[in-house]
Every structure is written in structure tokens, then in C-alpha cells.
């Protein structure tokens, strides 16, 4: 099944894909259909698709929307569910090389919330890279966030680095948001991105982090980024681009040529599916025995000889 987990099966008949989707869930391989291209999510321990990271592969974790300081009905104990998430990460058969936090570390940008988040995340014992969500930049244009987590960053807070043969780009799309708009990157950051990618070999795998989705999941709910198209145009020449987003507290995926966009689960609380009638983009209360099944973390592994990563979403509970 490993080949099928790779991106891109050009020319596949749409009807065939639907059949695959309907049968796939029962058969133990979970597919999503997006942009007409099937994507299989590996299920841990399943005989069909059992290709967990092996030593020598480069694997890391995405954690998102921890919202430390949240105390609403949707989850009275986000510290506890974060600890569960970190326990899941600790169970990985191969220790991840690092952790990426795609924002909304805290609920209200309060010092005590940043303190607690930092303490809890440190227990994972992994080098961690952060980008802020809009909840992290409520005070002073995000100064408390950047003071703690942004020492490596250039002006504006965006940055890039290389690890495991992969080029990582961390974007900020939650600052200077414009009235009536969605997420926003801004011309300065776009210019930096263009320069950062220039001259890199098209076979270099790229991983892009951004808190708000870099595609329009829901304009009515503000789930998108106004000027993402320009950023995407800079990424198009590359053969393997994986965009990791947060903000919407659920996994939704889009494939556009060589670019796969994935939003992630939260470790704090779920949110409704986009544009659900009668719902809103905020915290969604569910029965207590369902909560942990809607929270999770993500493992990403670049396996030898494969340009595109294996992506495994782990719920906190079955």
C-alpha cells in the first residue's frame, strides 16, 4: 500500500475514487477525496498500510491549537488533554526529531498561560519550533509570544530552516488582519518567501507552517488567507510541498498539484465542520466521552527514497 500513500494518481476515474473512499474506510485504509486525487492515511498497526517510520527516516510531530488558559465548556482541562497528546507522542516507536507547533499555544496571550504551555511542552523533550495563532498575538503585536518562542526569527517573525534534507518555512498569517478579511501574509513576508525559495532545487521537499489555512476552507467563517495565492505560486515549482495548518481544529486536506494542504486537530477542543448550519467557528461542546476522540496530534515521516511524506493523525482516544 505504500505506493498508494504517495501523492498523485493522475488520470484516475472519479467514480473509481468514490468507490475507493466508501470501501476504504471499512477495509482499514482511510482515504479522503480532494481535488480528485486520493490520499490514504496510514492507520497505525494496520496490516494493509503498516509503514511506521523506521530508524533512518526523518520524522517529526505537528501539534496545534493547545489553547492553554481555555476554560470553557468544550474542555475544562486543556492542560490535561495536552499531556495526553504528549504521552501519545512519547509512545511513538521511533522518537521524532522535533516538534512543530502551528499556533494558538495560549488562549489569551497571558504570561501565566505562556508559562504553563512552555512547561508542559518541554516535558516532551523535543526541540520545538513555534508559530503564533491569533490567540497568541493579542498583546503588543505578539511581543510576549516572540520573546519566548521567536528568538531565532527574523523581522516579522517568519523564518525557515533545513533539517533531514527538508526545507521548513514558517509563515505568520495572523498579524495585521484587515477588516472583513481572512488571514494575511503581507507583501514584506511574501517578498521574503520568494527570496527564501529562490535557487533551491525543485526536488527539495518543502514543509510550510502557517496557522490559518492557506486555502479557502470557509470564507464565511474566516477560514482562509487573503493573499495565499502569491505564496502558493512561489511553491509551485517544487515537487513535494506539504502545508501544515491549524486554526480550524479538525483535519481537512486539499491537494493542488504537488502541494498538499493539511489542517490539524487541536489538543484542546473541536470545532464544527465548516459552514455547518446553526454552528459557528468557535469551540464546539461534544459529549464528554467523545471529546478525546476529536483531539489529536500528527506524525510526519519522510521515508527514504520517497519525496512525499507519510502523514499519520493520532487521536487521543479511539
Amino acid at each position: 500500500m505504500r505506493d498508494q500513500i504517495e501523492r498523485g494518481m493522475p488520470g484516475t476515474n472519479r467514480r473509481g475514487l468514490l468507490k475507493c473512499m466508501l470501501l476504504g474506510a471499512a477495509g482499514g485504509v482511510l482515504w479522503t477525496v480532494s481535488g480528485g486525487v486520493p490520499r490514504a492515511f496510514q492507520l497505525g498497526g494496520d496490516a494493509l498500510a503498516a509503514t511506521p517510520p523506521a530508524p533512518g527516516d526523518f520524522s517529526f510531530v505537528q501539534i496545534s491549537d493547545t489553547h492553554i488558559g481555555f476554560h470553557g465548556e468544550a474542555n475544562p482541562d486543556p492542560n490535561g488533554t495536552l499531556q495526553l497528546a504528549l504521552a501519545r507522542i512519547a509512545e511513538a516507536p521511533v522518537r521524532p526529531a522535533m516538534m512543530l507547533h502551528t499556533g494558538d499555544v495560549t488562549q489569551l496571550s497571558k504570561p501565566a498561560e505562556f508559562d504553563t504551555a512552555q512547561q508542559l511542552l518541554k516535558t516532551a523533550g523535543l526541540q520545538t519550533h513555534f508559530i503564533p495563532g491569533e490567540h497568541d498575538t493579542l498583546v503588543d503585536d505578539g511581543k510576549p509570544f516572540f520573546d519566548r518562542f521567536g528568538k531565532e526569527n527574523g523581522t516579522g517573525g517568519w523564518y525557515s530552516f533545513d533539517q533531514g534534507g527538508v526545507h521548513f518555512v514558517a509563515l505568520i498569517n495572523v498579524l495585521n488582519l484587515r477588516p472583513g478579511g481572512l488571514g494575511y501574509l503581507g507583501p514584506e513576508q511574501l517578498d521574503w518567501l520568494k527570496k527564501d525559495l529562490k535557487g533551491r532545487s525543485a526536488s527539495t521537499p518543502i514543509v510550510v507552517l502557517a496557522h490559518m489555512p492557506l486555502w479557502s476552507v470557509s470564507a464565511a467563517w474566516g477560514w482562509g488567507t487573503d493573499d495565499a495565492a502569491q505564496a502558493i505560486s512561489y511553491l509551485k515549482p517544487f515537487g513535494s510541498v506539504t502545508v501544515l495548518n491549524g486554526h480550524i481544529h479538525q483535519v481537512i486536506q486539499k491537494v493542488e498539484g504537488g502541494i498538499t494542504f493539511q489542517t490539524a486537530m487541536s489538543t484542546a477542543f473541536p470545532q464544527a465542520a465548516p459552514d455547518t448550519p446553526g454552528a459557528n467557528p468557535g469551540p464546539q461542546k461534544v459529549p464528554a466521552d467523545r471529546l478525546k476522540s476529536l483531539l489529536g496530534v500528527r506524525e510526519i515521516a519522510f521515508v527514504k527514497d520517497k519525496a512525499n511524506p507519510m502523514i499519520t493523525d493520532e487521536r487521543l482516544e479511539a
Partner: protein
């Protein structure tokens, strides 16, 4: 905890959405949308104060369900307007243009913010966390 857990919650919701969209036929293009337009959408069309007003009065705006209610409020000069956040998410009250007369801190559930309008005019504001949330105070 077992690693064999199947991701149903997060992806399941997405699959439900995908399945529903696929089943619904013409709605599938949502997932195939091209990138959103570069310009911000300023959706005040419904709230132009020059149009015949269905202006609400009083001095209170309730923030709930990711909206300001009423979206347009008309008050007399000198009125103190009170915004109260009844929503599960924090929100702010922020002037759309400079100078930012309205610049509330992040309002948690139950928090309030007040501002006294001494000069007539049309004051457009939005939530800086959720910029699609917009409102207007008309001071006459």
C-alpha cells in the same frame, strides 16, 4: 494507549463533509476553490448608514455567535456604548481605520468594553482576531 486507534473524529468529520459535498453534486467545488482573492472583502454593503436605516437604538452591543448584535447601532452624541462578549471565543472591538479610537483588549467570555462617543460620525469596527466580524456605531 494503543497506536491502532483509528482517526475517526477529525478526519471523520472531514470525510462526512467530503461525502456530503460529493453526494450533493454541485457543492464539491468548494474543496477545489482557487485561492481566495488578494483584496480583503469589506462587507459593509448591507450596513451602509446612508441607506434607509433599520438602525437599532439603546447603548448595548452583544457579541455572540461570531457577530456583533446589533451590527449597526445608532446613538446620540455623548452616549456610552457597552459591548459584552457572550461568545465562547474571545473577541475584540477595534476601529477599522486609524486613528484607532476603539481598541479594546481581548474580551474573554463575560468581559465588557465601553466607549463614550463625544463626536458625531460613523465608526466602523471589527474583531481583530476574527476580521470577518464587523460592526458600525452611528453617532448623531
Amino acid at each position: 494507549m494503543s497506536r491502532t486507534s483509528i482517526l475517526i473524529g477529525g478526519v471523520g468529520m472531514a470525510m462526512t463533509v467530503v461525502a456530503a459535498l460529493v453526494a450533493g453534486g454541485g457543492v464539491l467545488p468548494r474543496l477545489l476553490d482557487p485561492a481566495p482573492p488578494a483584496q480583503a472583502v469589506v462587507n459593509h454593503a448591507m450596513m451602509d448608514p446612508a441607506a434607509k436605516p433599520v438602525a437599532a437604538t439603546g447603548n448595548e452591543v452583544v457579541i455572540d455567535n461570531f457577530s456583533f448584535g446589533p451590527a449597526m447601532l445608532t446613538v446620540a452624541v455623548g452616549t456610552k456604548v457597552v459591548w459584552t462578549n457572550d461568545d465562547a471565543d474571545p473577541h475584540t472591538v477595534t476601529s477599522e481605520t486609524d486613528p484607532k479610537l476603539l481598541k479594546s483588549p481581548a474580551l474573554d467570555t463575560g468581559d465588557s468594553f465601553t466607549f463614550t462617543f463625544d463626536k458625531p460620525g460613523t465608526y466602523r469596527y471589527f474583531c481583530s482576531l476574527h476580521p470577518h466580524m464587523q460592526g458600525i456605531i452611528v453617532v448623531q
